[in-house]
């Protein structure tokens, strides 16, 4: 050990040489702290293993050098090392945090305590210096601070125990509109509305947080420009090691937009509920209306037709031919009107009813209709795909097919025997096409759109009787089952009406699953 290093050991007040030695060994072997001795001018006298690890100098290299070698050039220019020694010398102790240099020129953030060491008579012997590398801690603190300051969606600030603002982040400026220097030191009640201030809410918030360890709430606050905003706040009390309240941390979030959206959403939901209730009521009324129409409106028509028929049968002998014909007209008109009412009800029903679609075998539905219509019609041919089911509402599907097939039979040419062919075929896009082809009168291109509208008729009652609702029912029915429909036709060459419904058979599902 060098002469200078022995200064410390020689002058340490120690009653026992043995314990002095142990103590010295302990200091020298401490690894996490740089502990060394300076002489009164600042020259290094001792060097422990911790100092060597931290600053990378061996004792041989450093002992005898001035401790200012550890300071960056700026600090040396401002004579910081010497000022620190003066301060320690005057006050007995000096503490500092700052950048220091290693032997290889790299920097570390150090916590430094310099202590004045006196001899028995109070004369300056030198300085004890303890250095700790706290670069990691500083970085963590820095990161935390950057994080807090960088948060702009939340106003994060701290208060002293009385509620005066002691720190802030950039979110405060963004949300509340105040610059940092405008709010530091001010009481946080400046953010509250006048009425809340009068009611003592700011104080209540702090006292609640203090008593319960936490306060959370929502409320109106004021921006610098007087504008109000709705915010959610969290206030947490901060205590020191002894448990004394040292202040509060406060996090404020502007949720005006969220509140506004929530209110809008609630309004919409309420309106929607009202509308649903209204439409349910309307639907129920319509249902009751059409029920009563089907009963009350049609009953007198049946009566008219009935009495016209009875009159002709019972008193036919007393009537001339014209009178008998008149009775025939009355009966025919009431039958026609009866059908019209029924068709209109069907049309409104098909537009309105809730359609629960289910897998339906279309070939069954077609054969059933062919059985009904084909009895008093010409030849109806079918080529059907029995394996395929479609998504349909069975009653509506039956009506659609019935209307198409009965039309195909009805609009026949006078001079040609009626031939109808019904086919089903899979389309590549997952639909099944049902086509009803006839050899009837056909439809001119300019009429092909009109015929799907309610009450559109191309022919007089004499030629082809009907209500003009049948195809409108077909179109609405197909659309409501998620399908599509159309017609291909030329006058004099017959028509092909087709509609496509979605295939639901298990084969398709399996194919899709295995893909």
């Amino acid at each position: 050990m060098s002469t200078k290093s022995s200064v410390l050991s020689r002058h340490l007040p120690s009653p026992d040489l043995q314990s002095e030695k142990i103590f010295r060994q302990m200091v020298e072997s401490v690894q996490d702290y740089g502990i060394f001795m300076l002489d009164p001018e600042g020259y290094i006298a001792t060097w422990n293993i911790g100092a060597e690890r931290m600053k990378l100098y061996t004792p041989k290299e450093i002992i005898g050098q001035h401790f200012s070698v550890f300071y960056p050039p700026d600090d040396i220019a401002s004579r910081k090392p010497w000022r620190e020694l003066e301060a320690a010398s005057a006050d007995g102790r000096f503490e500092d945090e700052g950048w220091r240099l290693r032997k290889n020129g790299t920097r570390f953030w150090a916590n430094v305590v310099i202590t004045r060491v006196n001899d028995e008579n109070g004369k300056l012997l030198g300085f004890g210096k303890i250095t700790r590398d706290i670069t990691d801690r500083r970085q963590a603190e820095l990161r935390y601070r950057l994080l807090v300051e960088g948060v702009t969606d939340y106003a994060i600030y701290s208060l002293d125990p009385n509620g005066n603002i002691t720190s802030w982040n950039s979110g405060v400026e963004r949300i509340k509109g105040y610059k940092a220097e405008e709010i530091l030191g001010k009481h946080f009640s400046m953010f509250y509305t006048p009425e809340d201030r009068v009611a003592g809410l700011p104080n209540t918030v702090l006292r609640t947080a203090e008593q319960e360890g936490h306060f959370e709430g929502e409320g109106w606050r004021m921006r610098k420009n007087g504008e109000r905003f709705w915010c959610s706040i969290v206030v947490t009390p901060v205590h020191d090691e002894e448990g004394t309240l040292t202040g509060f941390s406060k996090v404020t979030r502007d949720i005006t937009e969220r509140k506004f959206l929530m209110e809008q959403l609630q309004n919409h939901a309420e309106q929607l509920e009202l509308r649903v209730a209204e439409s349910e009521r309307t639907n129920a009324e319509l249902e009751a209306f059409s029920y009563s129409v089907s009963h009350d409106l049609r009953a007198p028509l049946r009566t008219i037709e009935g009495f016209a028929t009875a009159l002709r049968e019972d008193y036919g002998a007393q009537l001339d031919q014209t009178a008998t014909e008149y009775l025939g007209e009355i009966a025919a008109a009431s039958v026609r009107m009866n059908r019209l009412v029924q068709d209109l009800l069907n049309y409104s029903r098909i537009s309105r009813i809730e359609m629960s679609l289910q897998p339906t075998r279309i070939s069954d539905a077609i054969r059933k209709v062919v059985g009904e219509v084909g009895r008093n019609a010409g030849k109806i041919d079918v080529a059907l795909d029995d394996a395929t089911s479609v998504l349909a509402h069975p009653a509506t599907l039956g009506q659609v097919i019935y209307n198409l097939v009965s039309n195909a039979v009805k609009f026949a040419r006078e001079d040609v025997a009626c031939e109808v062919r019904i086919t089903t075929s899979r389309l590549p896009d997952g639909f099944l096409r049902t086509a009803v082809r006839d050899n009837g009168i056909g439809i001119a291109p300019e009429h092909q759109e009109r015929i799907f509208k309610v009450f559109e008729r191309l022919h007089g009652q004499e030629e082809y009787p009907g209500t003009g609702i049948g195809l409108a029912i077909v179109k609405r029915g197909v659309e409501r089952m998620g399908g599509r429909m159309g017609v291909d036709s030329k006058p004099g060459e017959g028509s092909e009406f087709w509609f496509d419904l979605m295939i639901t058979d298990p084969n398709v599902e399996q194919e899709q699953e295995s893909k």
Binding site: S294, R302, G306, F307, T309, V335, R339
Partner: protein
């Protein structure tokens, strides 16, 4: 056995409709007697043998009740429920609905309450005549009717 001694109790509020239906019922050979009441309450009174229908000589217990649904005061479905709820003979009476309602809910309810058949009034009068003829042939000739013993106090 001739149907002329058998009686159909016909419950229908619309007098024009009733007249036409009665005419249709009588159009067929071997037609039954028809007694018409205008509402559900009267139908119940008739079946119970209450005034003014207490005389079973002139108002015999029917072989069949032909019942409309839409009736003033007590509806056809209520009359049907009442019939099936009776103890003894009245509950066994064959009941056929004849109505203009094709409402599926009505049809299902009628069967649930124990109706024997449900007919809807057809579009034309000639179809109604056909239907009424078939009705009598089936219910009064082919059908095996229950023996109805009325409660002694009736």
């Amino acid at each position: 056995v001739s149907n002329s001694t058998k009686l159909i109790l016909f419950v229908e509020d619309d007098s024009a409709d009733a007249r036409l239906t009665q005419r249709a019922l009588q159009k067929t050979e071997n037609s039954a007697q028809v007694f018409r009441v205008e509402n559900g309450d009267d139908a119940v009174k008739y079946l119970e043998g209450q005034a003014p229908f207490q005389n079973r000589g002139t108002h015999p217990f029917p072989y069949l009740m032909l019942l409309d649904i839409k009736l003033p005061r007590r509806s056809g479905l209520e009359v049907l429920q009442w019939v099936r709820a009776q103890e003894g003979g009245i509950a066994l009476l064959p009941v056929v609905m004849l109505t203009s309602s094709r409402h599926q809910a009505d049809v299902n309810k009628a069967y649930a309450y124990g109706v024997n058949s449900y007919l809807t009034k057809p579009e034309t009068y000639s179809q109604l005549t056909e239907m009424m003829s078939a009705l009598q042939t089936y219910w009064l000739r082919h059908n095996e009717e229950p023996i109805i013993v009325e409660p002694p106090d009736a």
